[in-house]
């Protein structure tokens, strides 16, 4: 595939979608309350750039902190679980049960406990991204061949050396799969948590503007939320390429 097509293709599709959007709204086929014209939506960015930027910044902060915390906890627990069978037996059932908790439903309780600031949103995002990293991390840490294990054994490597030299590098593709997944879901988690109770953030903006039928602001918030989480995924992909130069094409497993 040529470089021109790789950039031109998606750009073309995007422009066509924008044109379709302008056409559909311009001809009055859709109620502007449901979907306002692109001009109206982009007008929001023009007229109230600070409103959009600050709220997006709040949500992004919650999402990124949640992303880091949740993945750090998930990976740490994965390391403990693959290193210690007794630790795994004691804690893994609990971790599985925690995954079954409908965390969004618990959000009101979190807000009672932590107030309507950033903490409960970070907690929800942390909770949501934690489990995929735990599962992927455990698979990844065990993914090295048995023969590599025998090689390290014959070299008399310590448990730490095995973790550092073999298990963690072998787990990297799995870790990045989890990271790419959670880069999106941490945004969703932060926005949903903001719906419940917040006075800033994209979730708050969507609920507030929606209650006043300002659908241009709702869509502007959706757009900037999408854009932010795409940027975050893009950063993860860039990081993956830097960290794993031996893997040929990391974008292949984007999802």
């Amino acid at each position: 595939m040529s470089r021109a097509w790789r950039i031109g293709g998606p750009t073309g599709v995007l422009l066509s979608l924008l044109a379709l959007w302008a056409l559909v709204t311009g001809l009055g086929w859709v109620d502007p309350l449901v979907l306002p014209s692109p001009v109206a939506v982009f007008g929001v960015f023009w007229n109230q750039p600070w409103l959009m930027a600050t709220n997006a910044g709040i949500t992004a902060t919650e999402a990124i902190i949640g992303l880091i915390l949740g993945n750090a906890c998930g990976l740490l627990l994965a390391i403990i679980f693959v290193s210690s069978a007794s630790g795994r037996r004691a804690v893994l059932p609990l971790a599985m049960a925690a995954q079954a908790v409908p965390i969004v439903a618990v959000t009101p309780a979190l807000i009672i406990g932590f107030g309507d600031g950033m903490e409960p949103k970070i907690l929800v995002a942390t909770f949501l991204v934690f489990f995929p990293m735990l599962v992927n991390g455990m698979r990844g840490l065990r993914s090295a061949d048995a023969e590599v294990g025998e090689l390290m054994h014959s070299l008399d490597a310590s448990a730490w050396q095995r973790l550092w030299m073999v298990r963690l590098p072998a787990a990297l593709p799995f870790i990045f799969t989890a990271l790419k997944f959670s880069a999106c879901s941490s945004f969703v988690a932060a926005i949903v948590a903001e719906w419940v109770a917040a006075n800033k953030g994209l979730g708050y903006l969507i609920v507030f503007a929606g209650s006043q039928y300002r659908s241009d602001e709702v869509w502007a918030a959706v757009l900037i939320g999408t854009l932010s989480s795409m940027i975050l995924v893009g950063l993860v992909v860039l990081l993956e390429r830097r960290v794993m130069p031996w893997a040929n094409d990391p974008t292949e497993g984007l999802t």
Binding site: D145, E147, V148, E150, L151, M152, H153, S154, L155, D156, A157, Q161, M165, V166, P169, A170, L172, M244, W246, N248
Partner: protein, 273 residues
């Protein structure tokens, strides 16, 4: 190992080669027992080259895995230079090279070759020097910065041998190291390995399927047979060291080949493989 055996210093102090005494390996799965090795005895003098050859299931790999401390024998004793495999491993006296040139794909060739030294906490500069020396020895100069995925099978095996050499092992344990390579390449690497062995004075224990490889690389070929795995014959190869590819044209080479083929056929009984 029984306490009585462990308390026999003369036995342990005697040889600096490889010594296998009454080694038995029995696997129990439920009520079924499989004898992988039945009372094997073998003495390999220091600096000599020995091949284990035999049908699948004859226990030749098991013997190698016992010596490299991957599995423990059910009974009997295996010693490398008077040390048990566990002690020898801790002192990094032997190096293991397996059939599938095991490489860490995220490390470049140089870092893969340095792996053993890194595990042994050898300082960086020393590590680099010894790795480059080993890479030179196996003829991989110029590929230090390549990833293993960019190498051919033969080059990866050279890298694996280089990694084994960095630790200057007294004992080189090789499990069909060239088994995955084509005939021509295998032949070339056989003679390169000979040159390396002359240079390093290492003791070689090689597991192989190939009769000609066994002759080229051995002072003694040990023929094993399955069910139960045991040593059936030891055939001396008296070509001495400093061998050249010309030994294959020596009439003795052909005679040894047929002798070994008969020994192997005999050891397999009436089974066809």
């Amino acid at each position: 190992m029984s306490a009585a055996l462990a308390n026999q210093p003369p036995l342990r102090a005697r040889a600096d080669g490889i010594s296998i005494r009454d080694v038995q390996m029995v696997y129990r799965r439920g009520v079924q027992t499989t004898t992988a090795l039945a009372g094997c005895n073998l003495e390999i003098p220091a600096g000599s080259w020995v091949s284990l050859i035999g049908a699948s299931g004859c226990g030749k790999s098991t013997l190698l895995r016992i010596l490299s401390d991957i599995v423990q024998p059910t009974s009997g004793q295996a010693l490398l230079g008077g040390l048990t495999p566990t002690e020898a491993r801790a002192e990094r006296r032997f190096a293991l090279v397996s059939q599938h040139a095991v490489m860490l794909p995220w490390r470049k060739v140089l870092a893969n070759v340095e792996l053993g030294l890194e595990v042994a906490r050898v300082p960086k500069a020393e590590r680099r020097r010894r790795a480059e020396e080993a890479i030179e020895m196996v003829g991989l100069r110029g590929f230090e910065r390549a990833y293993p995925s960019e190498l051919s099978g033969g080059m990866r095996q050279r890298a694996a041998i280089a990694r084994a050499l960095t630790l200057k092992p007294a004992y080189l344990l090789m499990d069909e190291p060239f088994g995955a390579l084509d005939e021509l390449l295998r032949d070339r690497l056989n003679f390169e390995l000979l040159r390396i062995l002359e240079e390093t004075k290492a003791t070689l224990l090689l597991v192989t399927h190939s009769i000609s490889e066994a002759i080229i690389l051995s002072d003694k070929v040990v023929v094993m047979s399955p069910r139960p795995g045991r040593i059936t014959q030891e055939i001396d190869i008296d070509f001495g060291h400093n061998r050249s590819p010309a030994i294959r044209d020596d009439p003795r080479f052909g005679r040894l080949e047929s002798e070994l083929r008969h020994a192997l056929g005999h050891s397999m009984g009436d089974e066809h493989h």
